[in-house]
Symmetry: C2
Amino acid sequence: MGIVISIANHKGGVGKTTTAINLSAGLALSGYKVLVIDSDPQANATFSLGLGKQEKTLYQTLVFQDNISKAIVQSKSVEIVPSSVHLAAFEKNNDVGKEFILQEQLQEIKDLYDFILIDCPPSLGALTVSALTASDYALIVLQPEPLAIQGMTEFVKILRTVKTRMNPDLDILGVLATSYNSRTVLHRELIEFLEKEYGEMIFNTKIRANINLPEAQSMGKDIFDYSPNSAGAEDYEALTKEIISRLTEA
Amino acid sequence: MGIVISIANHKGGVGKTTTAINLSAGLALSGYKVLVIDSDPQANATFSLGLGKQEKTLYQTLVFQDNISKAIVQSKSVEIVPSSVHLAAFEKNNDVGKEFILQEQLQEIKDLYDFILIDCPPSLGALTVSALTASDYALIVLQPEPLAIQGMTEFVKILRTVKTRMNPDLDILGVLATSYNSRTVLHRELIEFLEKEYGEMIFNTKIRANINLPEAQSMGKDIFDYSPNSAGAEDYEALTKEIISRLTEA
Ligand SMILES: Nc1ncnc2c1ncn2[C@@H]1O[C@H](COP(=O)(O)OP(=O)(O)OP(=O)(O)O)[C@@H](O)[C@H]1O
Ligand SMILES: Nc1ncnc2c1ncn2[C@@H]1O[C@H](COP(=O)(O)OP(=O)(O)OP(=O)(O)O)[C@@H](O)[C@H]1O
Ligand SMILES: [Mg+2]
Ligand SMILES: [Mg+2]
């Protein structure tokens, strides 16, 4: 299948990494072969999968154009291209057309996987642009709070620019609301606003605020492994099913 | 007094902007003259103070070296140098020694204010480095969650590098825990860990999770204006007092 999905939003702390980890685990549990690419110098996805500092990472691929397969490691139910703090150098270097390196490298290995999920950093620089250029879909993650929603309009513009200039195949898979607390009026009102403004783009599944999600990260586990009966596991399982049906009906 | 404080952490969504807005309002309420510098292309601080798109912003100052005073506007109880999405260009341009521009510009106006608070983006690029180079203090903000804490060690290294190479006067004012929910075991355990690891650096004040804080942002108001009896107002008032006493005893 080789479907490449960027998990993105330049707003910080909205749940991109939490979604990359748990959606990839959910897809693996449904029998799919999944590769996670940690494209954030913070290396939160790498850490959340229980991996320490790795020697071969996305850094060598993007900055020295090493073959990406050299960096792939197995971690529980998925495979991962880890990140490292050195990856920040990719944002600054002047390598012409560098935003296309990841797309070229993924051509070689795409068909070995059903899904490739790319965890993006909270910025609109070369790392995010390179992920979107390599992707079939962008999955926008946000909290139903004013600052995250305000950032969304800006982010959708970037997606259009990447689609027009660099990757005509890029589509929006959907918009995911996370850390949702249905008991707070603000959250309910902003979800209503999003559903009116963006209609079908908003996933039916909302990821509820659930302390099991950061707890799982502190143990280097995904939510299904750490706490399979939690609201977090229930919601990421529902999201997995909803995404599979969106893609199979597409 | 002219004390310059960067509100920083490369981890996203930890409450940097929420702290920049509400600490500046708290200081203004205590009678101090405060300037906020929105150094994030997301312009969340600008939006949270109820300002729309501004013509003159930090962009012209950092990229074209316009005089920073031209960008200053009054907004309720504080003054602000707004941001704009164009500010992202500063991260990418090759202007030699650009990290020193803000420091030079602030020399001219420092003594017109008691406090200058700089809201930083979730990244370790030129915008954050330029803010730290211009600052007397860094105030590190984080949520008591594993990914935010893991980022802290990396961030403290950056602070040391800036102090050694670019700004020997830079000190850490303290570390602020935000979105704290004392009923969750994970948060209590990580606060204990932080207090053991970093001792006196951790502020006694913790900002509790309180929905009034994002609600205030949706109204373009600070917490004291929007909801003066809320836990959010109480905590930011306590933080203001604690910071003033840390600085007056220093
Ligand atoms: N549904 C949820 N319920 C409770 N906590 C959550 C939820 N989703 C994410 N979190 C927590 O919120 C914090 C931020 O999430 P995460 O790191 O996944 O966001 P991010 O968008 O990847 O951040 P960054 O912009 O820094 O990359 C983490 O500590 C995470 O464990
Ligand atoms: N103590 C708190 N209680 C509840 N919500 C909070 C609290 N502090 C911040 N928030 C909310 O969490 C979200 C993230 O906060 P904020 O934007 O201030 O973080 P940030 O570190 O500036 O993010 P970024 O890295 O994107 O700049 C916002 O919607 C904000 O309203
Ligand atoms: Mg992340
Ligand atoms: Mg911010």
